[in-house]
């Protein structure tokens, strides 16, 4: 079995994932087709093999986590239908993106997968897992992806996902010389019949024809692109308006809560000799406190809901936050990244293909086996706890304290790759 996804669809999933402060998930839409491969060998003539190929055409990102399932992993079919609508019949799998986690399905993911298989009626539903890791200094980042087929037995659990590309563009197929041939017959026949291929200008008719097709296609690409651009601007604008409204509402609520609190306190102060009120004598002292401490107290009390910036940002994507101009020397997430050495050693180009240490051995942290083939069911529970903790809460600070590349980097003679002192 094989699977393929276009570079554009793949990039789109990466794009939605990168925009997300928490884990990100969605559905894979496409089709499964049977490809017949004919093979001829000395031992048997004309044996054909059938290969199932999963073609991913598109993805349907979920705006939030838990949009079709709950904390216990119970899938809600109604919500599922609301998300998928008429695309339900095109679902061939689902995907999840997580940061700094193992390349294996978590327990909850397995539970959800089983239910999706039954509800959607797709016996060979696939699960595409994206895992993102970075070096401690954030200079190198890796996105790993594995396509699981969890409904099969242990031995067939992962499928190669290929991203078709243009292939060999070395232009070696054009012939710069003809095979020397002195045959007069050859020359005359090909000249006589070959003229059908060329127009009066000596240009091959096929070339003009195919160029027409290409031109028309490119024009259409351009036209649709313009429409997309317009829709992006409209979406951006409305998103901004929504964010402003939310801010305004939050501000009004804060102000009116503050007002109410002040009124309450004022009312409490003016109540004469009420023995039921504790420490009434202390209250006039409070009212003598400067306003700033009052409001700071209320600010502390009322800022509760916004304590988790990651969740808020996931819900309302606001305009890009203001980035600090200095690189934090030890960004908090760096300490918690499980495998800082996983993407190679700093400063020394690694000769080995893929990620590994300079001497050619792979860090075994990076050689994480996608454990479809092993008996490691017990590990799943741990990784699911970890997945929720690390991805959803700890990643956001490193993103929000990101440094733009506008800061002039200077050359450090000692090859120090880390932040320049004092800037």
């Amino acid at each position: 079995m094989a699977a393929s996804i276009s570079g554009y669809t793949f990039s789109s999933v990466c794009y939605h994932s990168a925009n997300s402060n928490s884990d990100h998930e969605g559905f894979l839409l496409g089709e499964v087709r049977q490809e017949e491969t004919l093979s001829i060998s000395d031992s048997h003539i004309g044996s054909s093999e059938f290969l199932s190929v999963i073609e991913v055409h598109n993805h349907e990102p979920c705006a939030q986590l838990f949009s079709f399932y709950d904390y216990a992993g119970n899938v809600n079919e109604e919500n599922l239908n609301r998300i998928l609508k008429d695309r339900r019949k095109n679902v061939i799998g689902w995907y999840r993106f997580r940061r700094n986690t193992q390349q294996q399905m978590s327990f909850r993911e397995q539970v959800i997968h089983k239910q999706l298989t039954n509800i959607l009626g797709i016996p060979d539903l696939v699960f595409l897992l994206f895992s993102f890791i970075s070096t401690a200094n954030s200079s190198t980042h890796a996105l790993e992806y594995v396509l699981f087929r969890p409904n099969r037995n242990r031995y067939n659990q992962k499928i190669s996902l290929s991203i078709p590309n243009l292939g060999n563009t070395s232009q070696q197929e054009y012939k710069v010389s003809s095979v020397p041939n002195t045959s007069k017959n050859y020359a005359s026949v090909i000249k006589e019949h070959g003229t059908d291929f060329f127009d009066k200008d000596g240009v091959m008719k096929d070339i003009r024809a195919i160029f027409q097709v290409y031109s028309a296609l490119q024009d259409r690409v351009q036209a649709v692109c313009c429409e997309v651009d317009q829709s992006e601007r409209v979406r951006e604008k409305i998103q901004e308006e929504v964010n402003k409204l939310k801010e305004e509402i939050a501000l009004r609520k804060r102000n009116s809560a503050e007002e109410e609190r002040r009124l309450q306190e004022a009312a409490a102060v003016t109540l004469p000799d009420n023995s039921a009120l504790p420490d009434t004598s202390a209250l006039p002292d409070n009212s003598a406190l400067p306003d700033s401490s009052h409001s700071s107290l209320t600010r502390v009390v009322l800022s509760g809901p916004s304590v988790e910036p990651s969740l808020e940002r996931a819900v309302n994507s606001s305009s890009p936050p203001i980035y600090s101009t200095t690189l934090p020397p030890d960004s908090p997430s760096a300490i918690l990244l499980p495998r800082p050495q996983a993407v190679g050693s700093p400063g020394h180009p690694s000769p080995s293909v893929g990620l590994g240490n300079g001497d050619g051995s792979s860090s075994d942290s990076l050689n994480r086996q996608a454990t479809g083939q092993e008996d490691e069911d017990d590990d799943d529970e741990d990784s699911s706890e970890y997945e929720n903790l690390v991805s959803e809460q700890l990643q956001p600070p490193s993103l929000s304290e990101a440094v733009t590349l506008g800061r002039p980097a200077t050359l450090w003679p000692d090859g120090d790759a880390h932040s320049p002192p004092g800037s």
Binding site: Q103, H141, N165, I190, Y214, I238, P413
Partner: protein, 188 residues
């Protein structure tokens, strides 16, 4: 290009670095890359290099990988070989795709076709080729253009259409949300 970009984005633009891809091979810059980066830095100390490694698959674990790294070059001592130093890089979340990005995406098939035309024109100018060879070369051109259309233009168009649809749905949702919030604000 700097001026056109500045016009399109409404912000002053300058070239801050270069990028290239390493298909099927490791993300680390080669000696040539490090040297090239060092040359750029002589003109602009702040110039950075980005490398994207893609189409990597570990056949054993069936794990695919895409990596990217940011680097500059440094010379340990005068006259010695340049070495890579690592530069932190962060991908900044942005909900909408910018016009410049969309244009770049659409530019790719155009560039590929242009390159193909240039190659073919050079071949076509060779007059000593017999008709069969000319037909062969013309077919190579046709084949290559077909490859480009099915590998690049087609999927690109599909993604654009899907993105358009996604945006339309988002806009509907956002409109509803905006109305709700407006009512909520009015009630306060």
């Amino acid at each position: 290009m700097k001026h056109r970009l500045a016009e399109m984005t409404g912000r002053p633009m300058r070239v801050v670095g270069w990028y290239h891809s390493h298909p099927h091979i490791t993300v680390w810059p080669s000696h040539v890359d490090v040297r090239t980066q060092a040359m750029y830095q002589m003109m602009d100390q702040g110039f950075v290099g980005l490398i994207f490694s893609c189409f990597i698959e570990d056949k054993n674990t069936k794990t695919g990988r895409v990596l990217y790294t940011c680097f500059q070059s440094v010379q340990a001592q005068k006259g010695s070989e340049y070495e890579r130093i690592e530069i932190p890089i962060h991908v900044v979340p942005h909900e909408a795709i910018g016009k410049v990005c969309l244009e770049s995406a659409v530019e790719l098939p155009r560039i590929l076709c242009q390159e193909e035309q240039d190659t073919y024109r050079r071949i076509h100018s060779l007059t000593h080729l017999d008709p069969i060879t000319k037909i062969h070369n013309g077919s190579v051109f046709t084949k290559n253009l077909c490859s480009q259309m099915s590998a690049i233009s087609g999927p690109l168009l599909q993604w654009l259409e899907d993105r358009l649809e996604q945006n339309k749905q988002s806009i509907i949702k956002l409109q509803k949300e905006k109305e709700q919030l407006t009512q909520e604000l009015a009630a306060l």
